[in-house]
């Protein structure tokens, strides 16, 4: 499972040890430990993964507008690591299904999900992606979780950008807890 390893922080560019303030949250005493941080593989790799979740925006309907708002300057999703909206599934980590998934589109959504490399996650944004929303009809898929495994659902029609950012933070917490080395 997890093993202790020595992860060396990049050395040579740090101020002298005596001038560095110690930080009690990390339990890191630079006078003793120097330029070395000790952690677990799981924690390190998951930290890297969670802090750079690049979204694949599956923007299908009105929720896509709020997704764009979350990506714009006022709510700025790139503060949380989602620096670029990667429209190529091959380069993305998380697929944000934003909008109504019709039965006609369901196959395409599934195909895009299959093209994403592991590890991948899905956020179902809005009522239509979570459960079919207000459209209880012959043409709308009642929840995208019938075709892809969803990690976080966001309620709202459309959810505010802050709600999407909250979902992203919840996803980050979920990613942090995942075991990296398969049990």
């Amino acid at each position: 499972m997890s093993r202790r390893c020595f992860t060396c922080v990049a050395s040579g560019r740090f101020p002298p040890v005596s001038a560095m303030p110690t930080s009690t949250e990390l339990g890191y005493n630079s006078k003793i430990e120097g330029d070395v941080v000790v952690t677990r593989v799981d924690a390190a790799i998951n930290w890297c993964r969670k802090q750079s979740l690049w979204p694949m925006p599956m923007g299908l309907a009105c929720c896509a507008i709020e997704l764009m708002a979350a990506g714009a300057s006022k709510f700025d999703i790139s503060r949380f690591g989602s620096e670029v909206m990667r429209f190529s599934p091959r380069q993305a980590d998380v697929m944000i299904v934003a909008g109504t998934v019709t039965y006609k589109m369901a196959l395409a959504v599934r195909r895009i999900y299959d093209q994403m490399p592991e590890p991948k996650w899905v956020i179902a944004m809005g009522a239509c992606a979570s459960t079919g929303g207000m459209y209880r009809s012959y043409a709308v898929l009642q929840g995208v979780d019938s075709i892809v495994p969803v990690d976080v659902y966001v309620a709202g029609c459309p959810p505010r950008p802050e709600a999407l950012l909250d979902a992203l933070i919840k996803l980050q917490n979920k990613v942090q807890k995942e075991p990296v080395l398969a049990a």
């Binding site: 039965y103 006609k104 369901a106 012959y138 043409a139 009642q142």
Partner: protein, 192 residues
């Protein structure tokens, strides 16, 4: 009113085929007795009366009545600014009438949508296939005998459908309820 005059000219040309123009709040409607001649009537309306734009083409399902389909053509002339409505009826056994894409190219997708949703065919259409649902979908969804929740279908590698859970029926509001709690859309059982 210029709109009524133009409608009268159209009636004068075609005689008994068209009804007397009915006017209601400024809107003029003509009923066409024989749907087979719709292309002729529209051609004349466009060429001679300069109704150069088809604003809308839609269909009505008169479920339980014969003829079952009513088609409504909304005409508009950008030159004279007058509207005209033409209505024709098609019976269910026939379910077919000539296309007007020869007159206005814009009728193309409207007729495809009517074919997709109601099942009425258009003779002479350049590309009559489904536009909203996928090719191979077996039903016509906007007919009155098709349930809102849909029916299960499966076309492998194309699409599948499942009936949507309606949880007791369409949620209906009460217009003019005294507060929003009374007006909230919920399952309501009709008293009759």
């Amino acid at each position: 009113m210029a709109a009524v005059e133009l409608a009268n000219q159209l009636k004068a040309k075609f005689g008994e085929l068209l009804s007397v123009p009915a006017e209601f709040r400024g809107e003029v409607t003509l009923k066409l007795a024989d749907a087979e001649r719709i292309a002729e009537v529209c051609e004349f309306a466009k060429k001679s009366l300069s109704y150069d734009m088809l604003l809308d083409l839609t269909s009505i399902d008169n479920y339980g009545e014969d003829p079952r389909w009513t088609l409504v053509y909304e005409l508009y002339g950008t030159g004279h600014g007058c509207h005209l409505r033409l209505k024709t009826e098609v019976s269910e056994e026939m379910s077919e009438l000539p296309t007007v894409t020869g007159v206005w190219r814009g009728a193309d997708w409207h007729e495809r949508e009517i074919y997709d949703m109601m099942g009425v065919r258009f003779r002479g259409h350049p590309d009559l296939r489904r536009i909203l649902m996928w090719d191979g979908y077996p039903y016509f969804p906007l007919r009155k005998d098709f349930p809102l929740a849909g029916k299960p279908t499966d076309l492998p590698d194309v699409a599948f459908t499942k009936p949507a859970p309606l949880e007791g029926g369409p949620f209906v509001t009460v217009a003019g309820g005294k507060d929003s709690i009374a007006r909230e859309p919920r399952v309501r059982v009709p008293e009759n």
